[in-house]
């Protein structure tokens, strides 16, 4: 009996330690990752199995570094894409965008398809297995392809809005707001040229409610942005 009593506390100690670890997962800040709808449009969210574009472990986990690559074969379309990239780069939030190589960058191709009716743009996000689909399909995005028709050049006032809006999809953002309401860059039909506070989201990240509904979290929520 005495031997049994001496053994029981050791086994119970290990169980208690494990219980403590488990409890920590509930009380620590990371627990706020739980309980949200995943894959409902925005690729919710950082660190989940359904994270959007990946902040690779060798990089800064609070940011995402896009490299926009020109495959448009048209200088006017590319100038608009470059401006869109710079507008995301210069906006508050965890997203960066360059048109040249930098460490741990994540690729977004700007491509042309004249099969698309102008004015318009389409974004395909692709994972490491080569599955390319809609932003509504939750995945770890490995690269993206943004397609635009040459006919967009006939609508100069929306060249940058289209390029910037599609880059938002490549970052993992879904549409936000009623079509034409222009409340955010991620509104369908937007004429905005740069992201606003809806597109990048609040600080602390994911602090708006309900987190996970389309567009309410912005890039800060997706990438656990701290700035």
């Amino acid at each position: 009996m005495g031997r049994a009593l001496r053994r029981l506390p050791f086994g119970a100690s290990m169980a208690a330690f494990a219980a403590g670890l488990a409890l920590s997962a509930i009380v620590a800040p990371a627990s706020t990752f739980a309980g949200h709808t995943l894959g409902a449009g925005d690729c919710w969210r950082y660190g989940s199995a359904l994270t959007c574009r990946v902040s690779w472990s060798s990089g800064d986990h609070h940011s995402i570094k896009i490299r926009a690559i020109n495959q448009l074969s048209d200088s006017t379309l590319w100038n608009a894409a470059s401006t869109a990239c710079a507008n995301w780069e210069n906006s508050p939030g965890p997203q960066f965008c360059h048109t040249t190589a930098y460490t741990n960058d994540s690729w977004v191709y700007y491509k042309r398809s004249d099969s698309i009716q102008a004015p318009n743009g389409i974004t395909y996000n692709c994972n490491t297995s080569g599955y390319c689909s809609s932003v509504a399909q939750a995945m770890n995005i490995y690269w993206s392809e943004i397609y635009q028709p040459i006919g967009n050049n006939n609508y100069p006032s929306v060249l940058v809005p289209i390029a910037a809006h599609e880059l938002g999809h490549a970052l993992g953002l879904a549409h936000h707001g009623t079509s034409g309401s222009n409340v955010a860059l991620m509104t369908s039909g937007t004429t905005r040229t740069a992201p606003n506070s809806i597109d990048t989201g609040p600080l602390p990240a994911c602090s708006t409610n309900p987190v996970g509904s389309n567009g309410t979290g912005g890039t800060r929520c997706i990438y656990n942005g701290t700035y």
Partner: protein, 226 residues
């Protein structure tokens, strides 16, 4: 004696519980959330990275070609809609104004191929039964962006949010504009495709004007666009 044993037991439980809690919280705080995956591009040159993407896209294109060659049925694939910047026509009047022809007909056949830039395009033959606007030959070719695409779960049918793909056998009313290089037609984006069912003409869910169309006879629907 029993109280002493229980107290010793509780101390032995409480201390490791607290230690486990402390370690767990520290680890969670230190890593700022779950660990990110390793960078698959680590150590690769740009050429290596581009080559990986190119090989994956070649595999995807071959899958689409095999799908066509094997005569597989696109209806067996789950439909995925791709959001676009444009929501399409903002009114039925605008949709009509954008159209070159308005017809009622039957989808005879559809095939899929990549356009010159690799985007999958659906090319459909439609047998025209009635014409409400413009003039057409009895069989016309309609092009849409989208089609079957490789997925890890056996493929999916990808279509644009405002432009459901036409599939063989469908009875349709179509608002069509000229194709990109003047060849064939394209559906008017956002409001160009209507299906004829036993309940009358029906707009797809992505069409904002369903309330004005749904349930109409084909005659009445065509009259709207005449």
């Amino acid at each position: 004696m029993m109280i002493t044993t229980k107290g010793r037991l509780l101390r032995r439980l409480f201390i490791p519980l607290a230690a486990g809690l402390l370690v767990g919280v520290t680890v969670v705080l230190a890593q700022d959330g779950p660990k990110a995956p390793p960078n698959p591009d680590a150590g690769l040159s740009d050429a290596d990275r581009a080559n990986i993407i190119s090989q994956l896209k070649d595999r995807n294109a071959k899958w689409v070609q095999d799908f066509v060659d094997q005569g597989r049925d696109p209806r067996t694939l789950p439909v995925v809609e791709l959001p676009t910047w444009s929501a399409g026509a903002r009114s039925l009047a605008e949709a009509r104004a954008q159209s070159r022809v308005v017809i009622a007909g039957i989808v005879a056949s559809t095939t899929y191929h990549p356009d010159p830039n690799g985007l999958t395009e659906s090319v459909t033959s439609v047998q025209v039964n009635r014409v409400a606007k413009g003039a057409t030959p009895p069989i016309i070719e309609v092009r849409q962006v989208g089609g079957p695409a490789w997925s890890p779960s056996g493929g999916e049918l990808q279509q644009l949010e405002g432009d459901p793909l036409l599939l063989p056998g469908q009875d349709v009313v179509l608002l069509l504009r000229s194709g990109p290089s003047g060849a064939g037609y394209q559906t008017v984006y956002g409001a160009g495709v209507y299906f004829v069912t036993d309940a009358g003409v029906e707009a797809p869910d992505s069409n904002a004007f369903g309330a004005s169309i749904n349930g109409l006879s084909v005659d009445a629907a065509l009259a709207l666009f005449r």
